[in-house]
């Protein structure tokens, strides 16, 4: 089992439009490739925090089983004034792997040879992005949590993209995204986050259709908000 949600309630905080998850119940088994599809304000971040144990639910229980990664390619934990070496040493000690081997693997997989010893804030964004993926890909996780799949597509990153695709095909995957195409490429099933519910689909295409149907609804809500704001302003002017 990767993760098991039992009667989970959660209200997102620090967002303009809070999402309230009510009574979430699902269980994801080892080795599964599952997508969580949702738009920006659908509460995807809150759900990922619950899966990683970075936050607690308001009610209910979240149980975690296999060795899962952090949300890749998140770079929030990386000290930008440090080098690739400092970054790999930190993770090597945290995950108890040999620092030298891990460093060489990350540099090789990410194609980062020319940036060794360089401060990360002096490296191009593409290199930092490759580093963020490689840091996770070179650790022995049973399941990856991905929030982005931008390693695929670019010609110069083709080798790296192929490596990531191979790694993902051999391990479990939880993909949190608003991109239906990425879910279609990497996942067998999907949950669509809609109005605080996680709707399960064993057919990813059907899940994407559901996701597309949410977009007009969100647009309506945006328009309604604008009208309310306008009305409010008119009233204030009087």
């Amino acid at each position: 089992m990767i993760v098991d949600f039992r009667g989970v309630h959660k209200r997102t905080r620090k967002t303009i439009r809070p999402v309230v998850f009510k009574d979430l119940n699902f269980r994801i088994e080892d080795g599964a490739h599952v997508a969580f599809l949702g738009h920006v304000d659908s509460g995807l971040d809150a759900l990922i925090d619950l899966i990683c144990s970075a936050d607690a639910p308001d009610a209910g229980v979240v149980r975690r089983g296999s060795m899962i990664s952090w949300p890749i390619p998140d770079t929030g934990f990386i000290h930008k004034h440090r080098s690739i070496g400092a970054c790999t040493r930190f993770l090597a000690q945290l995950y108890e792997v040999d620092p030298k081997t891990y460093f060489s693997q990350v540099v090789e997989v990410g194609g980062l040879q020319e940036f060794v010893g360089e401060r990360l804030d002096h490296c191009p964004r593409s290199a930092v992005s490759r580093l963020a993926f490689a840091l996770g890909a070179c650790l022995p996780f049973e399941t990856f949590i991905l929030t982005n799949t931008k390693f695929e597509g670019k010609d110069d990153d083709a080798k790296f993209g192929q490596y990531m695709t191979d790694v993902l095909s051999r391990r479990g995957l939880l993909l949190a995204t608003a991109q239906g195409k990425a879910a279609q490429t990497f996942c067998d099933s999907a949950y669509v986050l809609d109005s605080g519910q996680a709707v399960y689909y064993d057919d990813v295409e059907a899940a994407i259709e559901h996701l597309d149907r949410i977009a007009p609804k969100r647009a309506d809500v945006d328009v309604a908000d604008l009208v309310e704001e306008d009305e409010g302003r008119t009233f204030d002017d009087f």
Binding site: C52, D55, S69, W70, D74, G76, F77, H79, A86, L94
Partner: protein, 257 residues
């Protein structure tokens, strides 16, 4: 069991180094403030002593070493405690690593703070005590034990404060004000023999005063503290540690505000 313990130490070690590397990166002058702040404090109290003779240390204790032994450990206490309650009471990016818990983050923040102030302590005390002829300390082991006891006490109190801070962040203001008051009555610039005995029962409830007394007792051969009580400090620390860790465990069920 042993391998789990080793893993725990590895995690705390990695997070401590990570925290030290990130400390004050937002300031161009790096660690300068850590050195400047106590330096200004010591200079201020040394100057104040020129005008207020009751501040003069008794028993021929040299003044600069005397004040430094009082000030830096209290800075250590305040910083460690603040780091621990802030780390345990707020959401951190590091918690997205599933094997990292709030206790790990809090302990490592406290540990990195201890490292900084431990080094700072010797940077200040070593030359000053040599200059004033107060070197070597009477009981070096006692000095080290006092610093370690101070760290454990600060971590324990930090965990206790993390619970109210997590549900009501403005608590930090209250803690800061209380700490300032406690700092003054904790023997920063006096030893208990400078205070009339009628006030002793009111002052000796404070475990920090006991620790400061231990520090001066361990350093100066001319001073023996009449009140320093290791048992009392140990009881307070143990009580706070049990309470703090229990509260932290309970608060893990509470979402971050």
């Amino acid at each position: 069991m042993l391998s789990e313990l080793r893993t725990q130490f590895n995690i705390i070690g990695a997070l401590t180094v990570y925290d030290l590397q990130g400390q004050m990166k937002k300031y161009n002058y790096g660690y300068a403030w850590v050195i400047l702040e106590p330096m200004m404090f010591i200079a201020f109290i040394r100057l104040a002593r020129q005008f207020f003779s009751p501040l003069a240390p008794p028993n021929d204790m040299p003044p600069l070493t005397f004040y430094t032994l009082g000030i830096i450990p209290l800075f250590l206490y305040m910083d460690v405690m603040k780091e621990v309650y802030a780390a345990a009471g707020t959401s951190s990016k590091l918690l997205q690593f599933p094997r990292v818990t709030p206790v790990d983050v809090a302990i490592s923040c406290g540990l990195s703070s201890f490292c900084i102030y431990f080094v700072l302590f010797w940077i200040f005390v070593l030359p000053l005590s040599i200059y004033e002829g107060a070197w070597p300390p009477k009981n070096p082991l006692g000095v080290m034990e006092t610093l370690l006891a101070l760290w454990v006490f600060s971590v324990a109190l930090g965990f206790v404060c993390s619970a109210p801070f997590r549900v009501f962040p403005p608590t930090s203001q209250f803690i800061a004000y209380t700490n300032r008051a406690i700092r003054v009555i904790a023997g920063m610039f006096f030893v208990i023999t400078m205070i009339p005995t009628t006030f002793w029962p009111y002052l000796t409830w404070n475990p920090l005063l006991h620790l400061n007394e231990f520090m001066r007792d361990s350093w100066f051969s001319s001073y023996t503290s009449p009140i320093a009580d290791a048992g009392y400090v140990a009881e307070c620390t143990l009580g706070l540690l049990v309470l703090g860790l229990s509260l932290e465990r309970f608060m893990r069920r509470v979402p971050y505000t």
